[in-house]
C-alpha cells in the first residue's frame, strides 16, 4: 500500500524543496521595540519578570561558575550564554507540570522553574546533597519535582525518549506534554530521525526544540547539513514546524505557546528551530578561537537576548536601572555564598558507589563492595574521603 497521493508526471521531474523555504518568526527588535505589524505578545508583567530574572540568574551563574572552573574549584562547566531566550522563553510557555528532556545546555529552564542556586551548586560540586549522588560530571542536573529529566551525556538519546514519555502522557490524558531540547549537531544523530518520525506517526504531544546555535563544538552548521537548517526536515515527517529568532524572547515564547496548543489539544508534535548563537565556548574544555573569529562573535554579542528583553521591559516601564542593579548584586552574592557552602559539604557516602545500579544491590556486587571496604581499611590514608565509612562491614 502506497501512502503517496501525488500527481503523476510523464517526464522525470526532480525537485530540491527550494519552494519550501521556511521563514523566521520575529517580534522584538534589538532596541526593545516590536517590529511593525508584529503580533502583540500575551505576556503579563509577572511572567515577563519571572522570565527576565531567570535569564539574568542563568547568565550570572554561568559567568561565576566558569570563573570557578578556571580557578580550579570545579572540574568542568558548560554555559547557556547567548541561548537564554531560546531555552527560557520556550520553557516559560509550558505548564510547569510538562516534562523537560534537555541536552545539557539548558540550565535556564531549571532556573525558570525554580531550581535553587543551592541545588545547582550541590550538583556542580557533587556533594552529599546532589540528587545525582555525585555520579555525573557537572551540569548533569535533574529534578523530579520540577519535571526536568536528569541529563545524559550521549547526544540525542533524550529525543526518542521524549516521544515515548509524551506518548505515556497522551494515554494518561491529563493534558501534559514533553519538550525536548537539542542542538543542530545532535539533530544529525539517528535518534533524532527516529523520534520525529515516531512522534508524527503516533500523534504524540511532544515539542522538539532545536537550538541551532551555529556550532557543534567546532563544527559549523554549514558542515553539519547541506539543507536550510534543521526545520525543513519536519516536512519529511509531516510535522508542524516553525523557525524562530532564538534571541527574541517574545517570539520564542509565542511560538512555543502555540506549539503547546497543537501538541496538547490536537496531538500534533511540533518542531521548533530557534536560530541563535553559542556565545560561549562549547564547554570549559573548549577554546573557540581555534575555529571562529572574534568579529563573528561580536556580531552576535550585539544580538544579546537578555539585553533585548531588558530594553523591552524598560519600554513597558516594568524594569529600571535600580531593579537591574539590585538583581545583579543579589545574584552575584548568592552564587558566591552558595558556592562556598556547597564546596564545603562532604562527598556522597561510600555506599552510593553501588546503590541504584539495580533497585537492590545484587549479591555479586555486594561481595565486590565488601572487598573494596576491606581494601580501604588496609589503606585508609589513600582513601581519605571514605576511610571512615569503610570501617563497618565484613
Amino acid at each position: 500500500m502506497t501512502t503517496t497521493k501525488s500527481k503523476v508526471v510523464y517526464n522525470p521531474v526532480f525537485t530540491d524543496g527550494a519552494e519550501f523555504r521556511i521563514p523566521t518568526f520575529k517580534l522584538l527588535k534589538q532596541d526593545g521595540s516590536l517590529y511593525k505589524g508584529a503580533k502583540a505578545p500575551e505576556l503579563d508583567k509577572d511572567k515577563a519578570l519571572r522570565i527576565y530574572r531567570a535569564m539574568v540568574t542563568t547568565r550570572i551563574l554561568d559567568e561565576r561558575m566558569l570563573a570557578a572552573q578556571r580557578q580550579g574549584r570545579l572540574s568542568f562547566y558548560m554555559q547557556c550564554t547567548g541561548e537564554e531566550a531560546a531555552v527560557i522563553g520556550s520553557t516559560a510557555a509550558l505548564d510547569d507540570a510538562d516534562m523537560i528532556m534537555a541536552q545539557y545546555r539548558e540550565q535556564g529552564a531549571l532556573t525558570y522553574r525554580g531550581f535553587s542556586i543551592d541545588e545547582f551548586m550541590n550538583q556542580l560540586f557533587g556533594n552529599e546533597l546532589d540528587y545525582g549522588k555525585g555520579r555525573q560530571m557537572p551540569v548533569h542536573y535533574g529534578s523530579r519535582k520540577l519535571n526536568y529529566m536528569t541529563i545524559s551525556s550521549p547526544l540525542a538519546t533524550q529525543i526518542p525518549q521524549a516521544t515515548g514519555y509524551a506518548y505515556g502522557q497522551k494515554l494518561a490524558g491529563e493534558g501534559h506534554c514533553t519538550i525536548t531540547y537539542f542542538g543542530e549537531g545532535a539533530a544529525s544523530e539517528g535518534d533524532f530521525h527516529a523520534a520525529l518520525n515516531m512522534a508524527a506517526v503516533h500523534r504524540v504531544p511532544v515539542i522538539f526544540l532545536c537550538r541551532n546555535n551555529g556550532y557543534a563544538i567546532s563544527t559549523p552548521a554549514t558542515e553539519q547539513f547541506a539543507a536550510d537548517g534543521v526545520a525543513p526536515r519536519a516536512y519529511g515527517y509531516k510535522m508542524d514546524v516553525i523557525r524562530v529568532d532564538g534571541n527574541d524572547i517574545l517570539a520564542v515564547h509565542e511560538a512555543t505557546k502555540e506549539a503547546r496548543k497543537l501538541a496538547v489539544e490536537h496531538n500534533r508534535p511540533v518542531l521548533i528551530e530557534t536560530m541563535t548563537y553559542r556565545l560561549a565556548a562549547h564547554s570549559s574544555s573548549d577554546d573557540p578561537s581555534g575555529y571562529r573569529s572574534k568579529d563573528e562573535e561580536a556580531v552576535w554579542r550585539e544580538k544579546d537576548p537578555i539585553l533585548r528583553m531588558r530594553l523591552w521591559l524598560e519600554r513597558k516601564k516594568w524594569w529600571g536601572e535600580d531593579d537591574e542593579k539590585q538583581l545583579q548584586e543579589n545574584m552575584r552574592r548568592e552564587v558566591l555564598e552558595t558556592m562556598k557552602r556547597a564546596q564545603k559539604r562532604p562527598p556522597p557516602a561510600l555506599d552510593t558507589l553501588v546503590s541504584d545500579v539495580y533497585d537492590e544491590v545484587p549479591p555479586g556486587l555486594a561481595e565486590q563492595f565488601d572487598k573494596l571496604k576491606a581494601h580501604i581499611r588496609r589503606h585508609p590514608d589513600e582513601y581519605p574521603k571514605t576511610a571512615e565509612q569503610a570501617k563497618g562491614g565484613a
Binding site: D130, T150, P160, G164, Y165, Y167, Q169, L171, N197, V201
Partner: protein, 325 residues
Amino acid sequence: MPQMNMLQAINNALDTAMAANERVLCFGEDVGIFGGVFRATSNLQQKYGKARCFNTPLVEQGIVGFANGLAAQGSVPVAEIQFADYIFPAFDQIVNESAKFRYRSGSLFDVGGLTIRAPYGGGIAGGLYHSQSPEAYFAHTPGLKIVVPRNPHQAKGLLLGAIHDPNPTLFFEPKRLYRASVGEVPDEDYRLPLGEAEVIKEGTDITVLGWGAQMEVIEHAVERAEKEGISCEVIDLRTILPWDVETVAKSVLKTGRLVVTHEAPLTGGFAGEIAATIQERCFLYLESPIARVTGMDTPFPLVLEKEHLPNHLKVYEAIRSSVDF
C-alpha cells in the same frame, strides 16, 4: 492445565500482564494487527486496542528510546525487537540509557518498568543475521537484567517476572523452541524469580550448565552420558545478569566438574565469566578444567550451521573428557 507452545505461553504472559495493568504496552515492528512475525503478540491489539499494542516504524533505536521514555513516565513498556540480531542499532539506548537511568539520576528517575523481548539463537537456517545470541554484549552492562527461558512454563513465568521486575530487563527468547517446545502452562498470573538458577536434575559426577535452547541440547547429551554411568547435575542459569553464583558454585563444590555451554562464540562468551568465577570459588575442589562448549569464533554460518553449533554430541564429548581427565 492447558498445553501451550512457547509462543502461546509468551502471548499468554503478555495477555495476562496487559489485562492486569492498563499501563502495560506492547509494541515493535509488525506486532500490531499482524501479531508479530512469530505471532507472539497475536490478538493483543484486537483485545486491548491500538493505543496499547501497536506497530512502530522500522527503527530499533527509536523503539527502545521510545520505550525508555515510556518507562521513565511510569508506563510498563514491553518492546519487541524482531530478531536479537537487529538489536544493535538500539545498543546505545540500552547500554547508555536503560542501564544507567536510575544510577545517573540518583534514583530520581528509572526505567524499571522496561522489558525488551527479542528472539535469539540458531538452528533455524537463519544464517548470519537471524541466529545470533548477543547476551554477552549486554552482560557487560551493570544495570540490566538478562533472562532466557527454556520452555513454555518458564517463558510465561519468567516473562511476567521480567515485566514486574523493577529493573530494565532483556528477555531473549529461543526462537528454535517457539513451536518445538510444548508443555503445560498454568492459566493464572505466576511469576518466576529473576536472578535464580534452577537445578533441573541432581547428580554427583559433573555439573552441566546452560540456558535457553541449550537446555534441550544438554538434556540429550546428559541422557547419553548417564547411560554410561555418569551422574550429571543439570542447571538452567535462567538469568544471565545478575547471575546466580551461589547455586552454580554449590553444585560444582559437590561434583568437582563443570561444563558450560552456549550458542554464542567462545571468545568473550558468558561461559568465560562463569568459568573464571567458579574456578575462584571452587579451585581446590575441581577435578578437571572447566569446559566450555560453544559456537565457534566465526560469524554465524548457514549451510554449515550444524558443524558450528554446540550440539548434544559436542556437549556429551565435553562431559566425557571432563570425567576422564
